[in-house]
């Protein structure tokens, strides 16, 4: 029998990407309900994704926006 935590780990990325089947989802959730370590790691992964997205969000420089607008083709 496969180690349930190893199996839960395999399902983590697809779980967070919402691409598991209903059956797999139920299986992952059943394990998460009883395993503190896996639950903690899933939560960490989720927090990490949110944090990376926030940290990587650099606003576009205003000058670049102006340069892009200037690239429009003038009407004849």
């Amino acid at each position: 029998m496969k180690d349930p935590c190893a199996h839960c780990e395999e399902m983590m990325q697809p779980y967070l990407d919402h691409v598991l089947t209903d059956e797999e989802m139920a299986e992952a959730e059943a394990h998460l309900a009883e395993c503190v370590d896996c639950r903690r790691r899933y939560r960490f992964e989720e927090s990490l994704r949110i944090y990376v997205r926030k940290a990587a969000n650099e606003p576009m420089p205003v000058e670049l926006k102006q340069k892009l607008a200037a690239l429009r083709i003038p009407l004849e």
């Binding site: 990325q13 990407d17 960490f44 994704r49 997205r53 606003p59 670049l64 340069k67 892009l68």
Partner: protein, 194 residues
């Protein structure tokens, strides 16, 4: 003789469609930049890439099918330009060893966390610079997918179409890209801890 007013009307319609296209494309520029910034290796590269992309988009606006996903269309131009610009010479990703499991970073951060157990606090041990630097260290093939899906919110199918690769390849590159990112983050976290 009758053709002239019709031509005039056609030209007016075309001009109106083009202006609308340009306005729509410009309205998406912040969202396109969010992705472009990390597809490119630096701010300067992202800046140039955005300008080349928009110049090309404005020239080839007729090839955009109204009603389809314009953000994906713009990013397809952008990723193609990025490849054309020969920005893919990096260390061969296959040669990089990866840690055995997906929890490596968590374990490393929690280990050095002085007993911190809240997952969000553990994540906050990483700085914004750590994240930007780690992202830029992910080899292009993996980073393209990672950035499109995790920062750009594209579906696997959209990312596959933008990059012209199979969905299965998107999934495997995404999985590996996320692991590489975590390994890079774990390395910077370890450096800071010592």
């Amino acid at each position: 003789m009758d053709a002239e007013p019709e031509d005039g009307q056609r030209l007016a319609t075309e001009a109106r469609d083009r202006v609308r296209f340009e306005e729509d494309a410009l309205a998406l520029s912040d969202q396109v930049y969010r992705v472009a910034r990390h597809l490119a290796s630096s701010r300067e590269d992202a800046d140039e890439l955005m300008q080349e992309t928009y110049a090309r988009a404005f020239r080839s606006w007729r090839s955009f099918t109204p009603g389809t996903n314009m953000r994906a269309w713009l990013l397809r131009i952008l990723t193609n330009l990025n490849i054309d610009r020969g920005r893919r010479q990096q260390r061969a990703p296959q040669m990089q060893p990866l840690e055995a499991n997906d929890y490596f970073l968590y374990d490393k951060l929690a280990e050095n966390g002085d007993g911190i157990s809240d997952e969000e606090q553990v994540v906050e041990r990483l700085s914004q610079d750590d994240i930007v630097t780690a992202l830029s260290a992910v080899p292009h093939d993996f980073r393209d997918v990672l950035v499109l899906v995790d920062l750009g919110d594209f579906s696997y199918a959209d990312a596959a179409q933008i990059l012209d690769i199979p969905v299965g390849t998107v999934m495997s590159r995404l999985h590996r890209g996320r692991r590489i990112l975590k390994r890079e983050l774990a390395e910077s976290a370890l450096e800071e801890a010592t």
